[in-house]
Amino acid sequence: MAHFLFGPFLDNEFLRQSLYAGILVSAICAVAGTFVVLRGLAFAGDALAHGVVPGVAAAFLFGFSGVLGAAIGAGVMMSGVSVVTRRYRLSGDTAIGLLFVGMLALGVIIQSRSRSFAGDLTNILFGEVLGVSNSDLVWQFIALVAVCAIAWFCRRPFLLLSVDDGLTETSGFSVKKYHNIMLAMVALTVVASFQTVGTLLVLGLLIAPAATGALFARRIGTMMVVAAVVGIFSTYVGLLVSYHANVAAGASIVFCSVLEFTACAVVVEVQRWQAHRKDIHHDHDQPHMHGHVHVS
């Protein structure tokens, strides 16, 4: 049994590298994903993930760094959304949707010039978790430190943005400025993660672990820790399933994280149902009391 669970990682260096990358990506996504979930930026996160496609495709075609290409793609996506929203008074959703499909289409067009069109596109969309190099790990570690630093330094405006834009502005923090910093943090997360799980699936690691954390946590820090644990566990189980069942690794990781959310949501629902039943029994057993809070 022990060999079934740990053998693949002990025997194969590439799988160990994948696990390390998965742990780093899970930690990055836990921090950024927490604010994505709280601020309701899932669609923007998805768009950013697809916005990097033309940059990465151009990098594949012209032979420069995929990370640089992804960063350029994310930058163009963010600027485009900002310009369309501001100049044409369209809703954020419409602007994101426009840029989302436009950038994805451009990515496919650029990639179609490549000789290995299908293979390269699959790598961009679904990642190459089993082909992680040491330099990838170093870059992901730097990205983790940067994302943690941004989240810590901007924790107050980010928290306020999660509650109300008006409250943020009247507390002395510019909504526009800190919303853009938050988007930049998400973009950095996408750029750091796409090589491991792919642009199509990175949203899964951004959303599912953080959403699982939100089910249980009472504080933002706890939500991040739960999200990181869920992400890391998903990485381990996903890689194990992929190894033994010979299925796609990146997709297995993301699917595990969504399954974990589903299982936790069921547990929370059962707990609520039990609490509700307990309340009903309590009301039947005791005379009804009307307490009120003293306000001085």
Binding site: L167, T170, S171
Partner: protein, 238 residues
Amino acid sequence: MSARIEATGLAVGYGHRPIVEGLNFSLQPGELLVLIGTNGSGKSTLLKTLAGLVAAQKGSVNVLGAAPGTQHSLVGYLPQHPVSSHTLPLRVEDVVAMGRYAHLGLTRRARAEDHRIVQESMERTGAIAYKSRPLRDLSGGQQQRTHLAQVLARRADVLLLDEPTAGLDLLGRQAVAELVAQERARGVAVVMATHELSDADTADMVMLLAQRVVAQGSPATALTDAALRECFGFTQPH
């Protein structure tokens, strides 16, 4: 004593369309201005203008001697129905502590004084009773008390309250009236939007709005049957 808020020929609204024009008023320390009107009458837009969230369209307005939205730590704003995400994992005391962020800025650490003010604000609204519970698990009234405590924690010189009694029972409404009286006693100027005529009982000035100023003055002079009929279409029992 200098006025906390001064507005002259003020027009408020969104885009190029004014909702209310010709607003003239001055509020001294400790005074209460109550804004009464139907939905869409301009109450919230006026409060947002005073908070610096919406630009004034015409006229002049200053809050604490400066342009609105520039004295963050001295102006407390309670928005109408503060949004609280279903997923927001924040305890009541964390939400109230956010009221100190305008003083703390980006990096300053909260000191014992900040913690004391947060604690005291929760005690004053009764939110202390559920301070460790997540906001998302609370009733509408409890959430409103939490947001009120957050505004009080700012220790502002001007309070802008948009329907602070919404979602509260009779006891809660009385508690809000008492809190407003306490704040006025320490020199805070309060502007409060409400649907409840009884909220205007202790006001220094009442403004009846219906996309224009229907009546303005002391409660006795502004809340006449004729003015109420013009504002609401019928006379409300007072």
